[in-house]
């Protein structure tokens, strides 16, 4: 290694404080509910949520599916929408960045669709696809495709012009420049897009399921509200948050492995 890692000693209080603060947070939450400062109809204590989680592992009542079935339905929708968004958004963005014809044709339509939040498509989607799997996939796709296109586009546009000029001097064709210069130099931005699109996908999934669903984690939350069971609402929120965090960590790991040699 060319450099030595300098180890800075953290003061003990800085190591302990985060742990303390999380503990205090959960303790306060538990106490607020247990001591009836907040009515039990409005918030469930962490322990209640834990109990419900254990119960929901096997018991499909009262919302018709176990927690894993909900999670599986949601994950499948999110995954399909996400993959489609990557598959269409990234190539489109890359092409838009380099080929002016593609840019000229695709840009106005993209700019028309971009400011509409994917949530606003829900009613139209319900008309077109019903409340099944593909409606939600469509919503997630819409949410994911926008950051994919933008990031891939910006990534290509940020290619070092000197490199492009050099390639031209050596007689490279447009396609060769695109393939060997623009795409690799856009990769870090593309990976940024993977993260953003995933976060979008997850947000929109919950939105889509709030409105039109019969299974899934978002549906679990909605049912919790309809049945006035705050523990179910919180369980759904925690499950969505945990799953999102887990996928985020996974992508981070993949990104670090793949981009090991690229300087940011």
């Amino acid at each position: 290694m060319a450099y030595e890692e300098v180890k800075v000693k953290k003061p003990l209080s800085l190591i302990l404080l985060p742990i303390l603060s999380v503990l205090t947070f959960f303790a306060a939450w538990e106490l607020v509910v247990q001591l009836d400062i907040v009515p039990k109809t409005m918030l469930a204590a962490p322990t209640q949520v834990g109990d419900l989680f254990v119960a929901k592992l096997t018991d499909p009542n009262p919302d018709g599916a176990t927690i894993f079935m909900h999670a599986w339905v949601s994950a499948r929708e999110a995954f399909l929408g996400y993959l489609l968004a990557l598959g269409i958004g990234l190539p489109l963005g890359l092409f838009m960045g380099w080929f002016s014809v593609v840019r000229g044709l695709a840009r106005p339509i993209f700019e028309l669709i971009r400011p509409i939040p994917p949530i606003a498509w829900i009613p139209l989607t319900v008309f077109w696809f019903g409340i099944g799997l593909w409606g939600k996939v469509f919503i997630i796709w819409l949410g994911g495709v926008v950051p994919c296109v933008i990031n891939a586009f910006v990534g290509v546009r940020m290619t070092n012009p000197t490199l492009i000029q050099m390639a031209r001097t050596y007689g490279a064709t447009d396609w060769q420049i695109f393939k060997t210069l623009c795409v690799p130099s856009a990769l870090p931005m593309v990976f940024g897009a993977l993260q953003i699109a995933l976060a979008c996908a997850w947000t929109n999934l919950v939105g889509a399921e709030l409105l039109a669903a019969d299974q899934g984690l978002g549906y679990l939350i909605t049912m919790g509200r309809r049945l006035a069971l705050p523990d179910m609402v919180v369980l759904g929120m925690v499950a969505v948050g945990l799953a999102g965090a887990a996928i985020g960590v996974l992508i981070d790991y993949v990104e670090r492995r793949l981009l090991a040699g690229i300087r940011r």
């Binding site: 985060p18 695709a106 606003a120 139209l124 947000t203 999102g244």
Partner: protein, 293 residues
Amino acid sequence: MAELQENIQGLGRQGSSIADEVQQTVREKKPLTIRRIVTNEYLLHVVSVIAFLLLWHQAAASGFFGGALATPWQVLVRFEGLMTDTLAGLTIWGHIWASAQRIFLGFVLASALAIPLGLFMALNPYVNAIVKPVFDIFKPMPPIAWISISILWFGIGEPSKIFIIVIGTFVPCLLNSYNGVRLIEPELYDVIKVLGGKRWNEIIQVSFPASFPAIFAGLQISLSMAWTCVLAAELVASRSGLGFIIVQGMKISDTSLVIGGMIIIAIVAWISSMLVSGLEKTLCPWKRDIAGL
């Protein structure tokens, strides 16, 4: 590149002879061929918009979608009517105002809380050690997941919608002001130290102004998040606002109302994001490019 050309033009106007020469080389015209006309970007823009509208019209008129797609013309007529007629007691302007008001309140509230907190976290390791772990617990949770619990807490009135917007905009605001300060080049601090400044000078003269662009990037993200949140909240439960318009259209199977509502949302969201970038340009004219942050 565009900036460079502007500079060159600016110099040219002052009558500097060297700049004139540079301008001549930069502005050399390519010969006008058919290929160049056909591949002109602006022409392609026009072509693509017209093709889009025609396709839309054809798809709607052919009945392939059944009643599930209105033609552009129907949408236009429907909305001309709504300018004066009322839907649930409000004209279209009233609904726009209802949504905009919610966004504004939630947005201001969240940024007033999140930006100072983010700055504090970045400047003081102890504040960071206390707040960051709790914040990290909430961060991956999509704001829309909060809708149910906010309805349980605040009912279906205004407070629950503003709460959702605050939750949604809080995270990007805080993250960006936090990262904005942390990613400042240490050289800038060194300058203050060399000039004999105190910690306070560092904060006022470096940390704040240098984090501005990042904060504004966060505000832009927050704004689009706020639109998503307000729509979701209005879709779930409301009697006014743009989300209400489209969900009403869904309930009475009025596609032109739904599509028109979406277009209005797009326009209003676009205008609001223009407002924020306008504010950004006035407040930090030195803005650097922070893409990839």
